[in-house]
């Protein structure tokens, strides 16, 4: 039987009068690829940030990687969850190598040779040359930066990967290549992925299930086929148009 990787129970979150999440419950199983789609401000990023404790729910419970996020040691929990955001998230003052080994280093792994080996292995895994390790992020193209972002998230060998519109700033061709590589990588490493996007084609292509959010609520959460065949409401219908 598959294990649960994430569970949200009746999660509600408001920012002032604005309700970002309104009684959201969902379970994501181990090894599943869940894409989350919705308009900006629908609460999808807030939901993602609940999972690694960057946001706290006003009410409800969040469990991730077998821990109650509300009770867990957040620093330790976050170090075992991969986190990828748009390319601006790379550290501009660190080389690609330093970026990739950031989590092992802040976790106390100081052995330089071992870290270099890890960085070389990971940069190969995301399809970049070793020479890139000594460059700075701004010397790379958008696609290369995104690959480094993924390599960095994989450094702690996470079982769970959270991705917030990681390919949002990429051109169509690079984006498609990155999507295929991410799918292959996810299969290879057996990771659970939660992937936020505002691109419906991307959501349908990548997700085992697609979660459609609207005004802080789950409009529909089903396989891409079922979403296409039986859209739950007018909003979903319009979205997949």
């Amino acid at each position: 039987m598959r294990m649960e990787m994430i569970r949200l129970e009746h999660v509600t979150k408001s920012f002032g009068r604005y309700k970002a999440l309104d009684d959201v419950s969902i379970v994501v199983e181990e090894g599943e690829f869940l894409t989350v789609i919705g308009r900006s401000g629908c609460g999808k990023t807030t939901m993602l940030r609940m999972i690694n404790g960057l946001q706290k729910p006003d009410s409800g419970k969040v469990y991730a990687a077998g821990e109650d996020v509300g009770e867990a040691d957040l620093i330790r929990l976050r170090r075992k969850i991969g986190y990828v955001i748009q390319n601006k998230g790379l550290f501009p003052h660190m080389t690609v190598e330093k970026n990739i080994i950031y989590v092992p280093v802040i976790s106390g792994q100081k052995d330089k040779r071992q870290n270099r080996k890890l960085a070389e292995e990971l940069i190969g895994l995301v399809g970049l040359e070793r020479e890139m390790l000594d460059r700075y992020p701004e010397e790379l193209s958008g696609g290369q930066q995104q690959r480094v972002g993924i390599a960095r998230a994989l450094a702690s060998r996470p079982k769970l990967l959270l991705m917030d519109e990681p390919f949002g700033a990429l051109d169509e061709i690079t984006k498609r290549a990155m999507q295929n590589e991410l799918l292959a990588l996810q299969k290879k490493l057996g990771m659970t992925v939660v992937f936020i996007t505002h691109d419906i084609r991307e959501a349908m292509k990548l997700g085992d299930r697609v979660l459609v959010m609207e005004q802080g609520k789950i409009a529909q959460c089903d396989t891409p086929e079922n979403v296409k065949k039986n859209p739950a409401d007018e909003f979903v219908k319009e979205l997949i148009g």
Partner: protein, 223 residues
């Protein structure tokens, strides 16, 4: 030309005296700059982490900075008396403002995405400060140090009016004994010291910005 000869002659005759004054001046300015640097840096870090304190601290630092140097010195005399101690205290108060302001601006100018990524990856608050925020703010902070050091060197010249040492002594004595060459000798050395310090710190600033500053602008504040 005659004046220039007199100046050179004076430097040659009273070499030891000028060296002593020069050393005292550097000592005075350096002590104040290091104190202001440390206090300003720590205060700047503190208010960047506790935003509520930022307004009051910056206002107070600004008031200290606005008071003319000679008034600040004068107001400290009843409290601390005359001499080096008073001068260093006044110079330190004076130097805190540019340090606090630049440290605060540098740290708060670090891109939100970068900080969010560091936090989401499991950095402690201390690690975010030391590994992300301070290195990325370094260019702006060093610009503040440069500003502060040059100012401290200049204002130190006035310190001799309240009985502190330094090259101001030569200026002051030159004025009292109608020896314009002596006043010139002291002034020239102060100018030289300020220019050289500015140049050296400018080089350091450029070096740091090359590594971090330019890139900080790119990841700047935009969302």
């Amino acid at each position: 030309m005659e004046f220039l000869q007199k100046v050179i002659q004076l430097y040659a005759e009273r070499k030891e005296w000028f060296l002593d004054l020069f050393a005292a001046h550097v000592g005075l300015a350096l002590t104040a700059a290091v104190s202001a640097g440390i206090i300003g840096l720590l205060l700047g870090i503190f208010i960047s982490e506790h935003k509520k304190a930022a307004g009051p601290v910056l206002t107070i630092a600004n008031i200290g900075y606005t008071i003319p140097a000679i008034s600040l010195l004068g107001m400290l005399i009843p409290v601390l008396g005359i001499g080096d101690k008073t001068a260093i205290t006044a110079l330190t108060i004076y130097g805190i403002m540019p340090m606090v302001r630049n440290t605060y601006a540098g740290i708060t100018g670090v891109g939100e995405e970068v900080v969010a990524a560091a936090e989401g990856m499991g950095s402690t608050r201390f690690q975010i400060m030391t590994k992300i925020k301070l290195p990325l703010a370094a260019g702006v902070i060093i610009a503040g140090v440069r500003n502060m050091v040059v100012m401290t060197i200049s204002v130190s010249a006035i310190a001799s009016f309240i009985g502190a040492g330094g090259l101001g002594v030569a200026i002051y004595r030159g004025i009292t004994i109608y020896d314009s060459a002596m006043t010139f000798c002291g002034s020239f050395l102060i100018a030289l010291l300020a220019i050289v310090s500015d140049l050296l710190l400018g080089l350091l600033e450029r070096k740091v910005k090359k590594k971090t500053g330019i890139k900080t602008d790119k990841t700047g504040k935009h969302k």
